[in-house]
Symmetry: C2
Subunit: 206 residues, 2 copies
């Protein structure tokens, strides 16, 4: 497999961020680092604290998301407040013409506030659902992943695996994605596990 | 579901740690925090850098593992060097009579060096396998999870989900575990996803 074009993935994370969302996508996507894809935590300030109290240093400022090729929003404890913070959101100037953009759970509310969903329906978790609906978005009740063109949404923390698989497939193709997923899948069930992730995402590649 | 006895889970992590291993167990296990179970990163020093360059503050010193009710070892870039570092390993005085102890991938090498595996076979990943074998352990080639009594091992980064499920089942029982797994599983497939994790671990509860 050849190298792909440089692909910087901004995993946008705020204080109170969900560890599963941010670190599953980060850990999975960096498996393609030798091929030119790298994922980094980006956000406001120098350090943030996770929803269970782990302090992590941000690798990039929030504005780095504007120049990244891929931008992913996880969820967190304070997303509803962030969604109301225009000064913060105004620092994000994302562009689906040149970027892949994804979100999960309460992060989907940020996509809505940034005007990025358009008329697309979206996945989210059960807790965030009423707030996402209030933002004018049709929520897909029984779906864990949905994508149309350059915008993807997922519901459930562990659906971070689908977001990462989607980014890999879009940027690196099926062979490299399968290889990366095999590396991290449970031993003895690698083919079944990887195929489960691929099968969920493949219908949305269009 | 009632509260369980206080259960402190030490997620032992070193410089170069694997984000998937440490943060999947941390994120999943802290779902039972309201019931008395809490998981924290513990290790030597104040801060460590992950295998993909994320700096995180350790929440507890390495020795905290000695008093925790549960101790889990993820993998990392430098585990082989750590396994040769007696001064570091001597700081760990673990006791399977009063602790649940688990490891995955190269972390299994540390269990072997600490003399905790006894005659048990173990799971690990394909890269760590020769080093674990060299430490005198029989590796289960096609298995992602194995446990005997208070000691569990897993192979593959995403098999962290099995280690977490095992700890939950042992400490909080099936009802609380199922509830916690439903919270984080992908939307629309929660029952199937949670049952997949439970089914893998249940045979080892003995």
């Amino acid at each position: 497999m050849n190298r792909i074009g440089p692909t910087r993935v901004a995993i946008v994370s705020f204080d109170g961020f969900n560890e599963l969302d941010s670190f599953i996508t980060l850990g999975l996507l960096n498996r393609l680092r030798a091929k030119g894809l790298s994922a980094e935590l980006c956000g406001p300030g120098h350090a943030i604290s996770s929803m269970h109290g782990v302090t992590v240093s941000l690798q990039r400022p929030l504005e780095w998301a504007n120049e990244a090729e891929v931008v992913l929003f996880g969820s967190g404890l304070y997303t509803r407040a962030i969604a109301e913070n225009s000064a913060l959101l105004d620092r994000l100037q994302l562009d689906p013409v040149r970027q892949l953009i994804g979100a999960q759970n309460s992060g989907v509310l940020l996509l809505a506030r940034l005007g990025l969903l358009g008329e697309r329906p979206a996945c989210t978790d059960l807790v965030s659902k009423p707030f996402v609906q209030e933002a004018g978005v049709r929520v897909l009740d029984e779906e864990s992943f949905h994508a149309q063109g350059p915008i993807a949404t997922a519901g459930g923390c562990l659906a971070a695996q689908y977001l990462a698989t989607w980014v890999m497939l879009k940027r690196a193709g099926e062979a490299a994605t399968t290889e990366a997923l095999h590396e991290v899948a449970p031993v003895g069930e690698k083919t079944r596990y990887a195929e489960g992730l691929l099968a969920r995402v493949r219908p949305f590649l269009g």
